[in-house]
């Protein structure tokens, strides 16, 4: 009886679901370009409403696939608007510039976005500036710089220098090793299995950092942020934590030295007995701080 009722309900609601959906015309303009790679080349991408995906390749080439996508119920409108998005791919000396933009006075009736799929030799430095989109970079070994606004930034398997400047959006980093400098504003951040040296300046963010045995130094200054530090081996790190008007949750069983140099200011310190040790230097103002042993978390 119950099964019949569910079937009847589905049959009655199916026309409503069909009515709610509309047929949309999708016009895609594809642009392909490639360059033979030279050691001093670097790739500069300036995207606007763009999704940028960068992967390494084994060829000694820089391969660029761009899709400009316009969606609209009217095909003619989609065809017209896809041409409004200007794209530029050119090499000037050792820099390969890839850019898309709408002219200042232009507006699109269709839903417009651009997708870049770019592969480069792993050692090729990459700079991405993007707004209202995505920047995903995997397994490069030299230098990655990202300046993003309202974008999702994903970095996996990178080594070398990382330099991020973000406003809004979020950052997800996994298996990173090298020297990283991150300045983020209203950006949520998850960094997992990180090694090397990290200098992070954050405001208004939800920040989760998962250290690994190879982490050397983490310097974090977070304002009005929720900070969670996860560590596989709590007692092998040196801690120098300063909190200002910030509730703090510390792991049990650790012998922290806690002082209060000023009202609402707490200094929490711990130095391991080892000769060499990695270090957490963290300051949190008007936020929350939690330090605990690593546990698995799901990607947002």
């Amino acid at each position: 009886m119950k099964q019949i009722f569910v079937l009847l309900l589905f049959c009655l609601s199916a026309p409503c679901l069909l009515i709610a959906q509309e047929q949309i015309h999708v016009v895609t303009k594809k642009i392909n370009e490639s360059y033979n790679y030279r050691e001093d080349y670097e790739v500069n991408i300036e995207g606007d409403r763009a999704e940028v995906y960068i992967q390494p390749n084994l060829e000694n080439k820089i391969l660029i696939d761009i899709e400009v996508i316009a969606k609209h119920p009217n095909q003619e409108q989609a065809e017209k608007d896809v041409e409004k998005m200007a794209t530029i791919v050119k090499r000037l000396k050792n820099k390969i510039y890839i850019r898309n933009y709408l002219d200042a006075e232009e507006k699109s009736e269709a839903q417009l976005k651009v997708i870049y799929r770019i592969t480069v030799p792993a050692q090729c430095p990459v700079y991405i500036k993007n707004a209202y989109g995505v920047a995903e970079v995997d397994n490069l070994t030299n230098s990655v710089k990202i300046n993003s606004k309202f974008s999702h930034v994903s970095l996996q398997g990178l080594t070398g220098n990382m330099d991020l400047f973000t406003r809004y959006g979020d950052i997800y980093g996994q298996s990173l090793s090298g020297n990283a400098t991150i300045a983020s504003h209203r950006t949520d951040m998850i960094l997992k299995d990180i090694e090397g040296t990290y200098n992070i300046d954050a405001a208004y963010g939800n920040i989760q950092i998962y250290a690994s045995a190879g982490l050397l130094d983490l310097n974090l200054d977070a304002e009005k942020s929720q900070v969670m530090l996860f560590n596989p081996d709590l007692s092998s790190f040196r801690y120098d934590l300063t909190t200002v008007s910030t509730p703090t949750l510390l792991p049990e069983g650790m012998d922290f030295e806690i002082t209060q140099p000023e009202p609402n200011v707490q200094r929490i310190q711990y130095t391991p007995n080892n000769e060499y040790f990695p270090s957490f230097s963290v300051k949190v103002t008007f936020g929350t701080l939690q330090v605990q042993k690593s546990s698995k978390v799901k990607r947002p």
């Binding site: 709610a20 959906q21 509309e22 047929q23 949309i24 015309h25 999708v26 016009v27 895609t28 303009k29 594809k30 642009i31 392909n32 370009e33 409403r49 660029i64 761009i66 969606k71 609209h72 119920p73 095909q75 608007d81 896809v82 791919v89 709408l102 232009e106 507006k107 699109s108 009736e109 269709a110 839903q111 417009l112 976005k113 707004a131 209202y132 309202f150 809004y168 959006g169 209203r186």
Partner: protein, 204 residues
């Protein structure tokens, strides 16, 4: 005066004239010039004895026609003789090759598909609560004028910053078309604004 006496006077006058010796090299030069003159006279004599010969008129006509035509072109010979021409030709060919290889540009193609989408998801409802927000903000500003409260002032600054971000997203929606990802970001900003407005309401 007798002729003998005149001669004597002349001889005497001549003997009184100053002595002048011609330079030694003058005599060989005079002798050489005399030899040349003699050969020239001999040649002139022999030339005068040569028979006259007049070519037929057709020869002159052919020569005149030949002169009127462009000179024969032997380009390779000229190029060999003129290295600058060689260099210029090579540069021109190289430039043409470079232009041809460089001007190909990226490949462009188009595809056309259709898909079903729920357009009602993209309806704009984000300005629905603005009147309520404005009322709270106005009351909060009145509170700020009365009390010197730093945390309340920072709330106001944060609210202004979020308003700027909200306007940026709305402008992007307007320029690039409505998109679910952008609406998701706008919703996150709206939640943050709501949180601040609630805090303001508590302070009033």
């Amino acid at each position: 005066m007798s002729t003998e006496k005149q001669n004597q006077l002349i001889r005497q006058a001549i003997s009184e004239l100053p002595d002048y010796q011609a330079p030694e090299q003058l005599w060989p030069q005079i002798s050489e010039q005399l030899d040349i003159d003699q050969k020239e006279r001999l040649i002139q004599r022999q030339l005068a004895q040569l028979p006259d010969y007049h070519p037929p008129e057709t020869v002159w006509t052919e020569i005149a026609e030949g002169l009127a035509k462009a000179p024969p072109k032997n380009t390779w010979l000229r190029l060999v003789r003129q290295p600058l021409t060689w260099a210029a030709s090579f540069l021109l060919l190289f430039s043409l090759y470079w232009l041809v290889t460089q001007s190909q540009g990226p490949e462009v193609s188009y595809t056309y598909t259709t898909q079903a989408e729920s357009q009602w998801l993209l309806e704009s409802d984000w300005d629905a609560d603005e009147a309520d927000f404005a009322e709270v903000v106005q009351l909060h500003q009145r509170y700020l004028r009365t009390f010197d409260d730093q945390s309340a002032a920072s709330l106001q600054e944060e609210f202004d910053e979020l308003n700027t971000a909200r306007e940026e997203i709305k402008e992007t929606l307007d320029r690039y078309g409505k998109d679910q990802e952008l609406i998701r970001q706008l919703a996150a900003i709206e939640r943050a604004r709501t949180q601040i407005v609630n805090q303001m309401a508590q302070q009033i």
